[in-house]
Symmetry: C2
Subunit: 342 residues, 2 copies
């Protein structure tokens, strides 16, 4: 049984963008064929006021003969109370030939890479192929990871605009990303969200706002908008687009994201959702069909993707003697540059 | 984060019978006060024919500030197909102050000790204090563990009878147990189940029979019968006793144990169940009230007990440098004698 820390995963070459994208696409195919077990998550909430909780998300990829569980702790007071991240994740994997565990690993890299890879697979099918400008509302870990995966599926991207509540976050984003992507032109937006969104071919909100920051009129013709967080765009945004695509509408509609809220208010119906991403990946439904369409993508997280990706991590790390057991408490980008495969 | 193999747990002094019994009693008290989160388990079944599966059982002991998850693989074909045990378990623990994981451990010792400790706590309240003779149907791991815990709560036990399908199993049981309990008198029953049960003050079926082996007329006045397996006693057994006690009737009634089957057939009703063990431990209900009562105890497994016990293991092992990552593939009794605390 392998025990893999974040550093072990980096050293084993797991921070690999093309690998993650190809796992996500392949796993959508397996999901479509019924080769995935995907039970409901179990949530244990310890304090109602702060919603401190641990979610337990088991899943199985039958054809890969791997079953696993992602264990995600969400502790919103951590940053202010303990100077620790509000999220941490651990992944356990077992093979299903004899049922023995094969690995336990820090789950941060896997989670972050999975989220951004699903969004990028969405962009591959739903963004304009000639997209040149990407705009970010939010400059944190998820924004950075999204830039790396988006750039891979949209190699025409040349300009990256970024707006964050805090100027220092924009600066850190640009400093770290320019170091990894020297050919990209970066534009700090001085906390002006409109500046980041207007005129962008791809707009990404990766921000923990719980406020309608993004306005519908900022989105131009042909935009691909990727909603990563919770509630960060005005209700008019989803109501004004041509297609809404989700990773799993069945899950999304019971959450508290913008389109979930609209659904619960009765202002959005099942038939207003164009489809789930896997249907587009396997070709049951078409992706973008015109240069002018505005397309909205909402991801909620697919834990079976975490298990599929963690299993690829395991295969890369297999045979290594790598045992350092600290759970990641910093940014996945700290000290990661030399390990990233773009 | 500690990674604890079975051997690490042995060396840390976790194979400790009085500790396990005291954790179980204390945790029943916490459960009664609402200090335990105990969500439904998630079961992933990989092959319907063989019921090969992995169960995921999360739970939290709020007052101990510990949340955990037991991951139990049940692969019935393992012994014949791979010469491996049909069960293995892994336990993950996180503290709930900041939500970080603190330990991952082999779960076999914890599971086995927990099951036998719950049964022994039942015996403490439900068996006659002067019980001298204990009879086992089944001679496997659970039977052995039950003998160790039962002897602790019923120090008057002098004679242990054991009947198994295979003579060699009886012999191995006696060889291993006589080595640990030199004062106990052992009686092999040559596969005659009646011989093991008749005249015994405590009868334990710990056998994977799926057949009505134990007969009602073999049970004498004042007996405490502890049902550990699935279906191993005749329907007349529960129908002829004075009290039926469960560890968690709400869970038991949906399973496939003897009393679950009777409930599903309509031959046993909610009001026929005297109570759950925790009610007796905390004093809401009385335990044994006469020397003549026949009492039936049915355990189904309480995963929150595993988390409570695993946390005690963690505290014993804390501060140790103990990293050997193999999952246990043998008997917990192999090489364990010098570590057991009776």
């Amino acid at each position: 049984m392998l025990v893999l820390s974040h550093k072990d995963l980096l050293k084993a070459g797991c921070f690999n963008i093309p690998m993650a994208l190809s796992v996500v696409e392949a796993t959508f195919g397996k999901y479509a064929k019924g080769e995935v077990l995907f039970p409901d998550k179990v949530s244990q909430i310890f304090r109602q006021e702060t919603q401190e909780r641990i979610n337990c998300l088991p899943a199985t990829i039958l054809t890969e003969k791997v079953c696993g569980m992602k264990w995600v702790a969400v502790f919103p007071p951590n940053p202010t109370r303990h100077h620790l991240p509000n999220l941490n994740a651990t992944i356990l994997l077992s093979e299903i030939e004899t049922g023995f565990p094969i690995a336990v690993m820090d789950g941060t890299l896997c989670s972050d890479l999975r989220t951004a890879s699903i969004s990028a697979v969405a962009a591959k099918y739903l963004a304009r192929k000639d997209s040149e400008v990407i705009g970010f509302l939010g400059a944190g870990e998820q924004a950075k990871m999204h830039l790396l995966t988006m750039r891979h599926v949209l190699p025409s991207l040349k300009v990256c605009k970024v707006a964050s509540r805090r100027k220092e976050s924009e600066e850190r984003f640009i400093r770290q990303m320019a170091d990894i992507l020297p050919d990209m032109q970066f534009v700090p937006c001085d906390s002006e969200y409109e500046k980041a969104a207007s005129g962008s071919d791809v707009v990404i909100t990766a921000i923990s706002a719980q406020l309608p920051l993004l306005q519908a009129e900022w989105l131009g013709e042909g935009v691909f908008y990727c909603h990563v967080g919770g509630w960060e765009d005005d209700y008019a945004v989803p109501l004004s687009v041509d297609k809404i695509v989700t990773d799993d509408w069945h899950s999304v509609k019971h959450r508290t994201q913008t389109i979930s809220r609209l659904y619960q208010m009765g202002k959005l119906k099942d038939e207003d959702i164009y489809g789930d991403l896997y249907e587009i990946v396997v070709g049951t439904k078409k992706g973008r069909t015109s240069e002018k369409e505005k397309i909205y993508f909402n991801g909620v997280g697919l834990s079976y993707m975490d298990i599929a990706l963690a299993y690829e991590f395991y295969k890369k790390a297999e045979g290594r003697e790598c045992i350092s057991l600290e759970t990641l408490k910093e940014s996945v980008f700290d000290d990661a540059k030399r390990y990233i495969v773009l």
